[in-house]
């Protein structure tokens, strides 16, 4: 029941967002951003709905959504892990962290999100926290000066927390 009303709210929310932006096609990017905050990704139906509401072509909405890194077209994990691969982090071994996590959460090649929708793993170009390199962000929390060991521990803690939560 809770889930159902949540879905309904979401749809209302889209109309609210469109209203807030006065149905202006030039506001497509902020509109998509806010919609993604609701859904955590951009479902196709929603993009079509946005296109017809703004009187632009669905292909254009798709084009904008796929141009920007920020927009995601498939459901994302509960924990989104972003490994910074900016210069400083790269030099300090950010890809080692990436591989460690990838193995730990059992992601296959070309995969970003785990099947249980718990984790999404990706790299970003620079988080602007170079002084703390290498850096990663999980959802909104920044972790700096990492080593593969530290990273593994952080992931383990999350997995454990989730397991405990389930058992309760």
């Amino acid at each position: 029941m809770a889930k159902e009303s949540l879905k309904m709210l979401h749809f209302e929310k889209i109309c609210e967002i469109l209203n807030d932006y006065d149905y202006r096609p030039d506001k497509l990017i902020p509109i998509l951003r806010e919609i993604q905050e609701e859904y955590r990704y951009l479902p196709e139906e929603v993009m079509t709905f946005v296109a017809s509401s703004l009187d632009i072509s669905p292909a254009r909405v798709f084009g904008v959504a796929t141009f920007f890194e920020h927009f995601k077209l498939s459901p994302r994990g509960k924990y989104v892990i972003k490994i910074c691969d900016g210069t400083a982090c790269h030099v300090k071994g950010s890809m080692n962290l990436y591989n460690t996590i990838k193995e730990k959460i059992g992601l296959g090649d070309e995969e970003e999100t785990t099947d249980d929708l718990l984790f999404t793993l990706e790299t970003v170009s620079c988080l602007g926290a170079c002084g703390l390199a290498p850096v990663m962000v999980i959802n909104d929390k920044v972790y700096g000066q990492l080593t593969p060991e530290k990273t593994e521990k952080i992931i383990e803690d999350i997995i454990k927390k989730e397991k405990d939560g389930e058992e309760e």
Binding site: R24, P25, D26, K27, L28, I29, P30, L32, R33, R60, G63, V64, F67, F68, E69, H70, F71, D85, G86, T87, A88, H90, V91, V124, S125, C126, L127, G128, A129, C130, G131, L132, A133, V135, D140, V142, Y143, G144, Q145
Partner: protein, 631 residues
């Protein structure tokens, strides 16, 4: 209605008088990541527990009569590596790497009893002396913090503190005393050049836009900082957002714009939050909006969050995305001054440039010109990273040499074990993906816009990455090429297809498949891309390749002719060998080798025949002691 700055200042200073000590906790992204917010909470909690008057918000009514301790958060203080940073005023004490559990101690000793705790101070590794204040720390001492001066001191979310420290006076001056032409002239006289890349004279840019007849004009602040390894714009937007707004207001007056956009990278949520709050506060105070300072002029600001595309740092791409389109650059001409956002005359300046503007108006162009060099007056903020002990955000006048930055501010060069070893310097990469790699010989050049271009680099957005001997220069070039390739918008052929081919060529070299022709091909293609790409990103995409080819040709040649990677980073070019220290003589490797390249008696150190080895890697996989390298 005119805002009474004096009243705000008096109010502020009378409140500040009641404050015995101010504890400033750095809340820049770096320190937050290291737990500075917890430190902040802990300060508030412990001070409250001890019934000491805590002031969190100076302007809260019931806090007014407290003669207490002001705990505030600041923007980035620059020394990110040493975070969380805690500054205690008025003494100017700086504590580094503070954890919540240290707070109790600090309150007991330093706050209550003015006792300095050495273990929290920064120790100068050269002299091994404790540094009590920022001024004693070489990292700060050798800088000239001009634009960043208030960052890391003031509370970025308190507009009154900004005004108390002279903020918005410059805006008021130009709105009430200057004609648009005079503003342009003053900025031109100051010789201010755009900090975002090419260094175009700001006054000229404004003047071009000013003379365009149009009812609608725009000022855009380009905060889409995306160079990997640069974060100065973020720091300014987080640490002193009002300085950016004030700069935009002055620009607006200069060209006759009534609307502006601040374009901020989406990866900088804190900057977005702070800028949004600053706009709201400025509007509430009638500083922004209609009838600015009692004139009939208006200026309205909107924040546009980027959605993650490096190319949107290019001005025409940035404008496309404000218009709700894919961020693909357009050919120039027409230039934005002519046909910019919505085809209207538009000025696009970068964050640092705009934050410098109020200071020029405050100090006057003559004073400003005293800083920096003849052709590049003023200061520049750099993000110093890589193999140096002191990384962080630094500000120096133009004309400073890179040697001074690396050795005096950065504290020297680190070797692969993390020890200071100045012999391990190899190169410094400046200007991000559009810039170049400089060598030892170029460290003494007095840096400014033109001199860097002369040697094939550029100020760019100001990333400075120190690269040690253990880093392979081909891989550095490849890293940047991979970046540009990912971030290319894909519109024009040279950038989209050309960078793909450059990357393939670099990979060939790294994989040991290159030859002398590969280098020629790299050079030839790089030049075509430079000459024919549509936008600045494409035109400068080959810079990392061209500058490393020029300065480190021998290292490239070693890869393609002698099949050697000097830094020992390119696995395909490693010599297969067995570490005699680690080998136990278990014979597993010789058994598994398909070409019988490994010899050795049981219990004795084995050896690999380099000629026979096909680098299949089976031996290393089998080895339990990690003794085999280079296969």
């Amino acid at each position: 209605m005119c805002i009474d700055f004096d009243k705000i200042k008096n109010d502020f200073s009378s409140k500040e008088k009641n404050i015995q000590k101010r504890i400033i906790i750095c809340a820049g992204t770096g320190c937050v990541a290291n737990g500075s917010l917890e430190v902040y909470e802990e300060f508030v909690k412990i001070l409250e527990d001890k019934n000491m008057d805590v002031v969190v918000d100076l302007h809260k009514e019931n806090d007014e009569n407290k003669k207490g301790y002001h705990v505030s958060k600041s923007g980035c203080q620059g020394f990110c590596q040493m975070g969380p940073l805690v500054a205690i005023e008025p003494e100017g004490i700086l504590y580094v790497k503070i954890k919540p559990e240290d707070v109790k101690d600090i309150v007991e000793k330093t706050i209550k009893n003015n006792e300095i705790i050495n273990e929290y101070l920064y120790t100068d590794p050269k002299t091994e002396k404790f540094c009590e204040t920022k001024e004693e720390i070489p990292f700060y001492r050798e800088q000239k913090r001009y634009v960043l001066k208030e960052c890391g001191v003031i509370d970025p979310s308190d507009i009154k503190e900004y005004i108390y420290r002279g903020g918005y006076e410059s805006a008021k001056k130009v709105y009430t005393e200057y004609s648009p032409k005079e503003v342009c002239e003053e900025i031109s006289r100051a010789g201010l050049r755009g900090r975002g890349g090419g260094g175009f004279p700001t006054g000229k840019k404004w003047e071009f836009t000013r003379v365009k007849e149009s009812k609608k004009k725009y000022i855009i602040c380009n905060g889409d900082e995306g160079d990997p390894g640069a974060f100065m714009d973020r720091s300014i937007m987080e640490g002193n957002p009002h300085s950016v707004i004030e700069g935009m207001m002055i620009a607006a007056k200069a060209v006759g714009a009534d609307k502006g956009y601040i374009y901020v990278r989406t990866e900088y949520p804190l900057a977005v939050k702070r800028i949004k709050k600053a706009i709201k506060d400025a509007e509430e105070m009638n500083i922004l909006g209609d009838n600015i300072f009692g004139t009939d002029e208006s200026y309205h600001l909107e924040v546009m969050e980027g959605a993650g595309a490096f190319v949107c740092g290019e001005e025409t791409a940035l404008m496309s995305s404000i218009e709700g389109k894919r961020g693909m650059p357009m050919p120039k001409p027409p230039y934005p001054a002519d046909k910019g956002l919505w085809e209207k005359p538009t000025v696009i300046n970068n964050v640092e440039t705009l934050a410098t503007v109020p200071l020029i108006i405050r100090d006057g162009s003559t004073e400003f010109k005293k800083i920096g060099t003849e052709n590049s007056p003023g200061t520049k903020v750099f993000a110093l990273t890589g193999n140096v002990p002191n990384t962080g955000l630094i500000e120096v006048p133009f004309g400073t040499t890179i040697r001074e930055i690396i050795y005096d501010i950065g504290g020297g060069v680190l070797n692969k074990d993390g020890k200071i070893d100045n012999d391990s310097f190899k190169a410094v990469q400046i200007g991000g993906p559009s810039g170049g790699c400089l060598t030892e010989e170029e460290l003494d050049i007095e840096m400014d816009f033109d001199k860097l271009v002369d040697i094939g680099a550029m100020v760019g957005s100001g990333g400075l990455v120190v690269i040690g001997k253990n880093t392979c220069i081909v891989q550095v070039a490849q890293f940047f090429m991979q970046f540009t390739q990912n971030e290319s918008c894909g519109k024009c052929v040279p950038c989209r297809e050309g960078t793909k081919q450059l990357l393939a060529l670099l990979n060939e070299i790294i994989d040991g498949k290159g030859n002398a022709e590969t280098l020629d091909e790299l050079e030839r293609l790089s030049k075509v891309i430079t000459n024919s790409s549509l936008c600045g990103l494409g035109k400068t995409a080959p810079s990392p390749v061209l500058s490393t080819l020029k300065n480190f040709r021998a290292e490239y040649e070693a890869h393609v002719i002698q099949d050697k990677c000097i830094a020992g980073e390119c696995e395909a070019l490693l010599t297969p060998e067995i570490d005699p220290e680690k080998c136990r003589g278990c014979t597993l490797c010789s058994k598994v080798c398909p070409v019988d390249a490994i010899e050795g008696e049981p219990k004795k150190v084995h050896t690999i025949d380099e000629e026979k080895c096909i680098k299949c890697g089976s031996c290393a996989e089998k080895c339990n002691f990690e003794a085999i390298k280079g296969v």
